[in-house]
């Protein structure tokens, strides 16, 4: 086996393209501090939108960007259910996710679309693919870092930190969360559009498990690289995604079936989630102060 061509290259490609999705999930899960399962639906929505438009002969650039907007629309739905109807975000997102399954089938017109013979944004060459995904992930990290330094971005970060304070300062925390859901699912939709072009197909089932896989990537990144600031957290999300894809690939090589991977992902999330607790116990055992 060729380590670079058969392992490192695909792992980095997948890690970077899924890193976009991890960045989207980071906005809801970490910035505004609400769990959002809509992404299981909106990843497919973005993929379905791009795939359908590509088969209709639309240029790949607008077709891909359209994935951002349809994904964002899914986020708006969850945001409105949560903020206007006061439904818990977890439940609101499950409702949207369920509804999106039908919407995604409608968008595609069938349960999957193959893109093999079409011109897409993703080049055929492996190294060109890696470069493209690297540039896109870097651009998204840069954009998010710029955004979170604006007044609007700062107000969104504060919403996740102290909701009541934000309202005392005249900012509607509901609007901030609605915007966070929108932005997050837009980015996930864009990620879905790229994933479809990378994999060569869009499928109604492809989004299932997105939230858990993204959390695994996020938490792996935070644990390994830290998340003390926005620049650090955003870079860690993408790097965490690469590490997670490497673990995923290793599990496959270790002889697990593809159908076992959801279980492995779930177990990995549990391990990653427990690391802060284990670290704390170790510090306590050493007699140090717990943070």
């Amino acid at each position: 086996m060729n380590f670079v061509a058969d392992f490192l290259l695909p792992v980095c490609q997948q890690g970077l393209v899924w890193g976009l999705v991890a960045l989207g999930v980071w906005i809801t899960f970490r910035v505004v501090n609400v769990p959002d399962l809509t992404v299981d639906g909106t990843l497919t929505t973005g993929a379905a939108t791009a795939a359908r438009l590509l088969t209709m002969g639309v240029h790949p650039v607008p077709a891909t960007l359209a994935g951002f907007f349809t994904g964002a629309a899914g986020g708006v739905i969850t945001g409105l259910i949560h903020t206007r109807l006061r439904v818990q975000p977890l439940l609101a997102s499950i409702i949207t996710m369920t509804g999106l399954y039908s919407v995604n089938l409608r968008i595609m017109g069938r349960s999957n679309i193959a893109l093999f013979n079409l011109t897409t944004l993703v080049p055929d060459d492996d190294w060109a693919q890696l470069a493209l995904f690297g540039v896109i992930a870097a651009a998204m990290i840069l954009l998010l870092n710029l955004f979170f330094r604006t007044e609007l971005g700062l107000a969104m970060r504060a919403t996740g930190d102290n909701d009541a304070m934000v309202r005392m300062l005249g900012v509607s925390s509901d609007s901030m969360r609605l915007l966070a859901f929108t932005l997050s699912n837009g980015i996930v939709g864009l990620g879905g559009a790229f994933i479809a072009q990378y994999g060569g197909f869009a499928d109604a089932q492809m989004g299932i498990g997105t939230i858990v896989a993204s959390l695994a990537a996020l938490i792996t990144g935070e644990t390994l690289f830290g998340a003390s600031s926005v620049p650090r957290a955003t870079v860690a999300a993408v790097l965490g995604s690469v590490v997670y894809r490497a673990l995923y690939a290793l599990a496959l090589r270790a002889g697990f079936q593809a159908s076992d991977l959801k279980l492995i992902t779930a177990a990995l999330v549990v391990v990653a989630l427990s690391i802060p607790q284990i670290k704390k116990s170790l510090r306590m055992a050493e007699g140090g102060e717990a943070r």
Partner: protein, 267 residues
């Protein structure tokens, strides 16, 4: 035009149930622009309900609230917050712990304006924040980029006060904002409060459990009991007031079987 006008404010919690609480039973109160009023009263007197009604956290059943001439009774908390500065009892309530001191102040300085894509922290703003923080005398001007979660309760409350007044509000509402602090920090925050309220001539409504503070600070003292204003002291009479005098006055009025008419007439 007045600073704040409250007319016939009523609020009952859980009406028609065994837990019914008549928190406000007809409050009339007017604050002149720049007037500093302290509010005292036992637990359940309705002090916080009054402040929360002005802030928009609670919707009154009846009555009107006018802030600097405009009726705000039907405005939401967020709408009003553009013109109202608030500091609560919990020193953790007024600041965002995972943001830096400068970032917290940047959130506060944009109060009342829509938030767009302009930079939150400009060099000019950082300089302004350093100047303002230096006035606190707590050394926070050297900790602009520290997370607020690293500060002490007293430092956080002083910062909350600065954030509440940074964009001069039409009214400053203080809900026992020194009660949760240690005595030294409480004294510092009380002094800062007095200094800023006077300097900026802020219309201020301050709840306190500390009678000494209620007497020493402010132009006027009002005592609440069971949702009503029992009595009001201002001017020279307030300056001569002692803690014992205040306690006796409270006992006297209460002992008279809640004869509010007489209490009001006596003043």
């Amino acid at each position: 035009m007045t600073g704040l006008t409250i007319e016939g404010l009523h609020k009952t919690f859980f009406p028609g149930t065994p837990n019914e609480v008549k928190a406000l039973q007809g409050i009339d109160l007017t604050l002149a622009p720049g007037e500093f009023v302290t509010v005292v009263g036992s637990n359940g007197a309705g002090k916080s309900t009054l402040l929360n009604s002005v802030a928009g956290v609670i919707t009154p059943d009846r009555g009107r609230i006018l802030l600097a001439g405009t009726d705000i009774t039907r405005q939401t908390e967020v709408e009003r917050a553009r013109r109202i500065g608030r500091v609560l009892q919990n020193p953790l309530a007024g600041t965002a712990p995972n943001l830096t001191v400068a970032e917290n102040l940047a959130l506060a300085i944009a109060r009342g304006r829509p938030r767009g894509l302009g930079w939150a922290l400009t060099a000019a703003r950082r300089r302004r924040f350093e100047e303002e923080l230096a006035q606190l005398g707590l050394g926070l001007e050297r900790r602009l980029d520290d997370r607020v979660g690293l500060l002490s309760g007293g430092q956080r409350q002083a910062l909350s006060l600065l954030m509440a007044t940074l964009q001069r509000p039409d009214i400053l509402l203080l809900d026992e904002h020194t009660a949760a602090l240690d005595p030294r920090a409480a004294a510092i925050v009380a002094d800062l409060t007095n200094r800023w309220v006077r300097q900026l001539r802020l219309t201020t409504l301050m709840i306190t459990h500390n009678l000494e503070q209620a007497i020493r600070l402010g132009d006027r003292l009002i005592m609440m009991h069971e949702g009503r204003i029992l009595f009001t002291v201002s001017g020279p009479e307030k300056q001569q007031l002692t803690i014992d005098g205040l306690r006796n006055a409270f006992e006297r009025v209460r002992g008279e079987g809640f004869n509010y008419d007489r209490a009001v007439l006596a003043n």
